[in-house]
């Protein structure tokens, strides 16, 4: 446990009653940092968040916020230190967005919950920061999903917590809203010195926006580390047990498994020009060969995932004769050839030989003819 950690967990197990859903979890997080929980469906990410929020009893272990154990805190003390953003929709009738944000002040108001001018200032500020001031008087049920998540974020900010928990905050949002929300979150937690623990399904977002990533698998914490530590090698494939494809760390996306069998079509690719063809052939269930792709080419991971045979060349090296011969051999076995790049350079000059051979044997076809 670090001395200055905003929140830390020491070997906690979470679950229902005595039944452990996920165990062996240890982490510590400073103010302004984001910890993201990833792992397969049903791994217990929500259960972990609920337990850290003290809404479920820990099966074992302890969670500390500001060096105080959460189970020893009174309800009010905890509510001033920890706030939530959940996925559940709000069903309350006739609640304006301002009313919703104002509920964040609950732990600070008196018996009847009347707001002081200081409370109102904090509410206004929270709405300002999340850019939803214009929604002040709108009904919470009549705004879009993206706007609603910003309102819920403002509410959680108005609670002035040390720690904020977000359960799949980006689900249901479109790509623009996802990026906006997480960028906003990044900025706010730094400014307000909040430690964030969130669960996220989108691995590309987890990779980009997290300071630390905690991976949950088989009822326990499998690995914790920075983004580059987690997204390395085939770890993500193993974490999720990806059997029908592979995860590409560089892009944070997954490709399905290649169509197996002898290649029927040879695709001359490179520089990203072949990606759409690879996908098209995959959709048509046609096994294909791709070449000659440098190992540092933008499309290399995709070609590697989708082509049944891949002819590659070492990074930053001109295509060698040996590689060209290898490619010509494979090309001879294919019935059709597609050429994707519109031009070639010194490094892939070898591909010009492939194109010439294709034209000579009359197998060259257009993309549209596939």
């Amino acid at each position: 446990m670090q001395d200055n950690a905003a929140i830390s967990a020491e070997n906690i197990s979470v679950g229902y009653g005595k039944i452990t859903v996920a165990g062996n979890i240890t982490f510590s997080l400073n103010s302004g940092e984001i910890l993201t929980l990833i792992g397969p469906n049903g791994a217990g990410k929500s259960t972990i968040l609920k337990s850290i929020a003290a809404q479920l009893h820990l099966v074992s272990g302890s969670v500390y916020i500001d060096k105080r154990e959460i189970s020893s805190m009174k309800e009010r003390e905890l509510s001033r230190k920890l706030s939530l953003v959940l996925t559940e929709r709000i069903h309350a009738e006739r609640m304006t967005c301002e009313d919703v944000v104002a509920t964040g002040r609950y732990p600070y108001t008196g018996r009847l919950g009347l707001l002081s001018s200081e409370d109102i200032r904090i509410i206004d500020e929270a709405m300002e920061l999340t850019g939803i001031s214009y929604l002040k008087d709108s009904d919470i049920k009549e705004i879009s999903d993206g706007q609603r998540q910003c309102v819920m974020l403002a509410r959680a900010i108005a609670q002035q917590p040390k720690v904020m928990l977000l359960d799949e905050p980006t689900s249901f949002l479109d790509v623009n809203n996802k990026l906006e929300l997480l960028s906003l979150l990044r900025k706010l937690v730094k400014e307000k010195h909040i430690a964030v623990i969130q669960s996220i399904h989108e691995l590309d977002l987890a990779q980009r926006f997290s300071d630390k990533i905690l991976c949950i698998k088989n009822r326990k914490a499998d690995r914790i580390g920075t983004s580059d530590e987690i997204f390395s090698g085939d770890y993500i494939d193993r974490l999720y047990g990806i059997s029908s494809g592979s995860f590409m760390n560089l892009y944070g996306t997954a490709e399905p498994a290649a169509v197996s069998g002898e290649p029927k079509i040879f695709v001359i690719g490179g520089g990203g020009s072949g990606v759409f063809i690879y996908h098209k052939l995959w959709r048509k269930n046609i096994p294909f060969a791709a070449g000659i792709i440098h190992k540092n080419d933008i499309e290399f991971p995709i070609a590697k995932a989708l082509a049944s045979v891949l002819i590659d060349e070492n990074a930053f090296e001109a295509v060698s004769d040996k590689t060209v011969q290898k490619a010509l051999k494979i090309m001879g076995k294919c019935s059709k050839i597609i050429c994707c790049p519109e031009q070639f350079g010194t490094m892939n000059a070898g591909c010009i030989d492939l194109l010439k051979e294709a034209q000579k044997c009359g197998k060259l076809v257009n993309v549209e003819d596939i």
Partner: protein, 341 residues
Amino acid sequence: MNKKRSTRYAAGFTLLIILTIVFFFLNLVKGSSSISAADAFYGIFGKSIDESVNTIILDIRLPRCIAAMLLGGALSISGFLLQCFFGNPIAGPYVLGISSGAKLIVALTMIFSLKNGIVLSSAVMVTASFIGSLISMGTIILISGKVKNMAQLVISGVMIGYVCSAVTELVVTFADDANIVNLHNWSMGSFSGTDRDDILVMLCIVISSSAAAFMLAKPLGAYQLGESYAENLGVNIRAFRLVLIFLSSLLSACVTAFAGPVSFVGIAVPHLMKSLFGTSKPLIIIPASFIGGAAVCMMCDLIARMLFAPVELSISTVTAVFGAPVVILIMLRRNRQKGCG
């Protein structure tokens, strides 16, 4: 709270208070014997020159009018609490079968005591009614754990209501002739026949429970966001839910004990108040529902007495005419919101 809102709140409460005063005096003035407004005013203090006016006002009209006020307020608050509890805008003591459960136990108690020649005190009636309410409430809470759909929950409540009413009918059918008249009047619902002792009991229960409900305004507001958020904000959910069940059952039990089951007020009034004030903040809606419920019940009682005088309608007949359309409006509004959400 911005200025526009405070103005709206002030205007709303002013309107409600004016309506309450108007219906209060109309209820005193109108009736089989017409009394002038001035006479009625003096009559309240027993100072009218005409002794018969004093008697009519003090012994008949005033107690009935106060009963309508208090019980109307109680029903509306009970309805609002239930709506918060179930997160369902069409929850209320009548549709969820809570009134009918109370009716059944009260009917059984009445028949038993009449048979044995015991005179029932109002406290015993309220207790019996409270037990009946809790039984129905328990059943509906068990069901609500299984069904999350708002319509299904209400249908379950209506069914509980039918079962309880059927058993009540059965019991009444086989009761002695002498009992029937008594029971029949009561089980139809009416504010008539309230005496001053009843008023005292009502006053104690309704005022204290309503005040307690008002003190719950803060956690209720948090609870409207959902249970997880409320818990995170520091609400002790278990204790809060227990208090909510206790208060809503007690308020509705008090109504059923004195006036029989009264339909739809519990749903309609809180909804109308939310529309009038443009908010669902418990701090506003609880007092508004109380005053609004009082005004609506006095209005409905006036109609029940006067429309086909000297024949008196049951109070539920009148409240249903006003209340049922409100339920339909709520559902239409919900559909519209779902459509654009």
